[in-house]
Amino acid sequence: MLGLPEKIRIEIDYEKCGEKGKIDPRECCRCLRVCDPAVFIMHETVGLEQDPIDPQYWRITPVWNSLCTKCMKCVEVCPEGAIRVW
């Protein structure tokens, strides 16, 4: 669209990684580490009932999308195929 910057889309399937998935991101972290510009953030899942002092449910969220180089390394490294970049 005219005048709008390019948008890079990155999506995590939380059915695969996160509080509902089979992987706890804290145990994996592969996407966090393979990404040169550090696009992803790991954080406790918001909106769930959990201990704020020692939260047990975690997620990955792509935050710095504009810095993504579309190298696709995260997609390749994810053992669950949970990441999509387009």
């Binding site: 966090l32 002092i53 020692d54 999308n65």
Partner: protein
């Protein structure tokens, strides 16, 4: 005179050299304990949560939007530097820092920092890379807040360190190539010396990639002694900011003072005593560019 924050909170010195900014009285007055408990319990959510309807998710895109981008930038700068009474800890209002060279970080830890002093896991490396590295030195009220949060504290709570240990640790981190920085949270209360790296550090990220003033450059810039430099190039590997490089035709290293953060870290790799910091204010092109 140095930056605006020194004028406001430095009592004639640099802001981080003013003992008052470290005091428990100031912490009480600012109700820092409540602010910090709220901020730190929710630390990893700071970019995820919506603030006035907008989160930091894809901030780069949002900042480039016509009109909205400019409003967003203005709002973000206001939050970062907020001194208002009803600051919101969940969005880290009034939380910003400045890079300091090792000598000054040691003066802070040796003389100014309020006890207890702890060294905990860096939360930026944790949330950005899932790496637990003990390199964040916190003090005063903030220590007692972080000690309650298991994810930032080594097992068996061995986080507390003495002043002397703190000075040794900051030196180790600095020699490793990490950049020392001192933090207001919330301004003007000071309670942390970090050892940051690019691009993991959230403060450096927001400043370098998005131009927000979450962290200021130091009061210095690096200078190369042309007679002493042997063009070994060791300093070049150390710089996290790409500010120093070898110029083959000259046979020596040069610094770009517009790019240099004055962290002093490159000095650790020079065995020819060719690198020294100069006050930023003495270098016309770097003056005022904090």
């Amino acid at each position: 005179m140095v930056c605006n924050w020194c004028t406001k909170h430095g009592a004639g010195k640099k802001w981080y050299m003013n003992a008052k900014n470290y005091s428990n009285e100031l912490a009480d007055e600012l109700r820092a304990k409540e602010y910090l408990t709220e901020q730190w319990t929710n630390f990893e959510q700071v970019y995820i949560r919506k603030i006035m309807g907008i989160s930091s998710i894809d901030l780069g895109y949002k900042l480039k939007l016509p009109i909205i981008g400019r409003v967003l930038r203005w709002q973000a700068e206001r939050m970062i530097h907020s001194e208002s009474k009803n600051r919101n800890p969940r969005r880290a209002d009034g939380h910003f820092g400045q890079v300091v060279p090792l000598e000054e970080a040691k003066v802070i830890l040796g003389n100014l920092a309020a006890e207890p002093i702890i060294e905990n896991y860096c939360m930026c490396r944790w949330m950005q890379r899932g790496i637990k590295e003990r390199c964040c030195i916190n003090f005063g009220v903030l220590s007692t807040v972080i000690e309650r949060l298991p994810r930032f504290i080594p097992e068996n709570n061995t986080a507390r360190i003495s002043r002397e240990e703190a000075m040794e640790r900051i030196e180790e981190h600095n020699r490793r190539g990490y950049v020392a920085s001192v933090w207001f949270q919330p301004v003007p209360y000071i309670n942390a010396i970090c050892s940051c790296e690019n691009p993991e550090c959230g403060g450096l990220r927001l400043r370098r990639d998005f131009g927000l003033h979450t962290v200021y450059k130091s009061e210095y810039v690096m200078s190369v002694d042309a007679d002493k430099c042997q063009a070994c190039g060791m300093c070049v590997h150390r710089c996290q900011f790409g500010a120093i490089r070898l110029v083959p035709s000259l046979g020596r290293a040069i610094v770009d003072p517009k790019v240099c953060w004055g962290c002093g870290v490159c000095r650790h790799s020079c065995t020819h005593d060719a690198l020294g910091l100069m006050p930023r204010e003495d270098v016309p092109i770097a003056r005022g560019r904090y």
